[in-house]
Symmetry: C2
C-alpha cells in the first residue's frame, strides 16, 4: 500500500512541476514582450526613422522618387517637409542642422528640391548619408526670375507638390509643410502640425521686422493677424507658419504657387486662398501663442581670403 502511494506520488509530482513550469514560461514570455514594446515605445522616434529604410535612389536626372507608398502599418500621418535649396557656401551646413532636427521627427519624409539643372553631388551624397526618408528633386529657376522682389523657390515648391500628386493617393495619411533650409524648427512644431485636418497655422518668430507674427485667435477661430508688414495680406503669414493636409493638396490638383503676377510677400496668400478660407484655419501652438519656429537667416559668408591660384593640396567639400 505504502509502495503504491510513493509510486503514484512520484508519477504525479513531475507532471505537476511541468504544469507549473509551462505556466511560468507563458507569464515570462508575456513580460518579455512587454519589456520589448516598452523600449520600442520609449524610443519611438529613432525606431521609426530606422524602420523607414531609405527607399529613394537616383533614377532620373530631374526626379528621384520614393518607392515607399507611405502605407506604413502605423496610423500616424507622415509629415512631408518640402525644402527648396540652392548651391552656396553655407548650403551643406544648413542641410546638416536641418537633418539633425528632422532625424528626431517620427514618420518624416523630406522632399528636397534643388534649384539646379541636375542633382548636385553634394546634395545627393548628403541625403544618402542623412539617415532620413527622402525624395530628391531638382528644377532650375530661369534667370529672369532671379531678381530682387521676385518670389523665390516657386518652381521648387510646385515641383514637390506635383511629386506628391503623382506618388500619393487618397489612402495615404500625411501633412505637407514648407520647410525652408535656413529656418529653425523645434521638435514640438512637428507634433503640433501632425493633427492638421485641412490647413493649420501658428506663430513664426523673427519675421516681418518683428519678434514674431501670429494669427489672432478668438474662440478657436482665426480672426486676424498680428503683423508689422503688409497687414492687408489675406493670409498675413510666413511660409513656415502653416501646414496642409495631404488630402487637401491631392483634392486641389491645380493649387500651386504663382509665378506670373505674383507680388512680393504674397506667395503664401496666393497659395492659401486656393485651398482654404481664413475662418477654416486650424490654430495650433496653444491658440497661436507659442513660437515653435524661427525665421532665422544665415549670414552670407565672406570668402575674401580664398586664394585665387594657390590652392590646398587636397579637395575638401564644405
Amino acid at each position: 500500500m505504502k509502495s503504491i502511494f510513493y509510486t503514484r506520488f512520484f508519477i504525479l509530482l513531475p507532471w505537476i512541476l511541468i504544469v507549473i513550469i509551462v505556466i511560468d514560461i507563458d507569464t515570462k514570455r508575456l513580460s518579455v514582450r512587454n519589456t520589448a514594446s516598452f523600449y520600442l515605445s520609449r524610443l519611438g522616434n529613432v525606431q521609426q526613422q530606422r524602420q523607414v529604410v531609405r527607399t529613394t535612389r537616383s533614377s532620373s536626372s530631374s526626379t528621384t522618387t520614393s518607392s515607399s507608398s507611405g502605407s506604413n502599418a502605423t496610423s500616424l500621418p507622415v509629415i512631408y517637409a518640402i525644402t527648396p535649396t540652392y548651391s552656396r557656401a553655407v548650403q551643406k551646413a544648413e542641410l546638416t542642422r536641418l537633418a539633425n532636427t528632422f532625424r528626431q521627427v517620427p514618420r518624416f519624409h523630406w522632399i528636397v528640391v534643388e534649384d539646379s539643372n541636375s542633382h548636385t553631388e553634394l546634395v545627393s551624397r548628403f541625403l544618402a548619408r542623412s539617415g532620413l526618408r527622402y525624395t530628391h528633386l531638382n528644377v532650375f529657376t530661369p534667370r529672369r526670375f532671379k531678381r530682387t522682389g521676385m518670389p523665390r523657390a516657386t518652381e521648387q515648391r510646385n515641383l514637390a507638390l506635383g511629386w506628391l500628386r503623382g506618388h500619393r493617393s487618397v489612402k495615404d495619411k500625411g501633412v505637407v509643410f514648407f520647410a525652408d533650409d535656413d529656418n529653425t524648427y523645434s521638435l514640438a512644431l512637428f507634433e503640433e502640425m501632425r493633427s492638421t485636418r485641412r490647413v493649420s497655422v501658428w506663430p513664426v518668430g523673427l519675421v516681418g521686422g518683428r519678434r514674431y507674427e501670429r494669427p489672432l485667435v478668438e474662440e478657436g477661430k482665426v480672426v486676424g493677424w498680428y503683423t508689422g508688414w503688409k497687414a492687408d495680406r489675406p493670409f498675413a503669414i510666413d511660409m513656415a507658419g502653416f501646414a496642409v493636409n495631404l488630402q487637401v493638396i491631392l483634392s486641389n490638383p491645380r493649387a500651386l504657387f504663382k509665378r506670373r503676377g505674383a507680388k512680393p510677400g504674397m506667395q503664401e496668400s496666393d497659395f492659401l486662398k486656393q485651398i482654404t478660407k481664413v475662418e477654416d484655419l486650424e490654430p495650433k501652438a496653444k491658440n497661436c501663442t507659442q513660437v515653435l519656429v524661427w525665421h532665422t537667416r544665415t549670414e552670407k559668408v565672406n570668402l575674401g581670403n580664398e586664394p585665387k591660384r594657390q590652392q590646398d593640396s587636397v579637395y575638401i567639400e564644405v
Copy 2:
C-alpha cells in the same frame, strides 16, 4: 515485471520532459535577451540620452552644478561642450538647433554659460526642457571688455573650465570642446573628438575668409596651417577646431583664456600653448581632410516693425 517497467517509465518520462523544458527556456531567454540588446544597440543614441537623467538643477544664483559625477558604468568618455551665450533676438532659436543636434550625441554634457548677472528665465526654462544633461552657469562680462577687437566670451569659457576643475577628478573620462552657439555641428564631429588623448584638431568650414581652415598633416603630425588670416598664429585654428582631454584640463589648473594682453584672434593660440605643442596635436577627421563643423553666423534680426507702444494682447517668448 511489465507493471514495474510502466511504473518506472512514467516516473522517468516527466523528469526527462522537465529537463527538456528547462533547457528550452534557457535558450529562449537568451534569444529574448539578444533581441532586447539588439534593439538597445540599434537605438543607442536616444537610449543613452534618456538614461542620462538630467541631474542639474538651479542651486545658486551664479553657478548651477551637476550632481552626476560622470562615473557612469559605460566607459565611453563624456563630451563636455562649453557654450557661452548671451541674450539677443535669435538666442532661443540658436539654442534650439544646438539642442536638436546635441540630443543625438551619446554621453554628452552641455555646459551653458550665460553672459548675465543671473540665470535668465529663458535659458533656465529652455535647458530644463531640453532633455539633455547640462550645467547652467553665468558670469557677466564687464562693459569695458565689450568692444570691437576685444576677445569675446573669455569669462564664460574660464568659468566653465573652473567648474570642470571643481567637479571632476582623475577618475572621470571626458573630452572638453568649445561649442559656440551659432556654429553648425555634424554628429560625426563628436565621434571624432571622443578619442582625444590630449589635444585633437580638425578643419573648420567657413572661417578666416575662406571656405575652410585646416591643420596641415604629414605622417600623422600637424606640420602647419592652411589659413588665409594671420598665418603667423602659433595655432592658426578656430575655437571650434579643437578638443582637449578632461585630464589635460585638470592637470593644467592654471590654463585659462587670457583677457589682459589678448589680441584679436589669439584666444585659441594663447590657450593652447599653455597645454600642448603643435607637434603633439592629434589630427582627426581623416588627417584633417574633412569639414565636420562650420563657423556659421546668424544674421542680426531686423526688428524695425516692432511696435513702440501697441503691443500684442499676450506675452510670447521668442
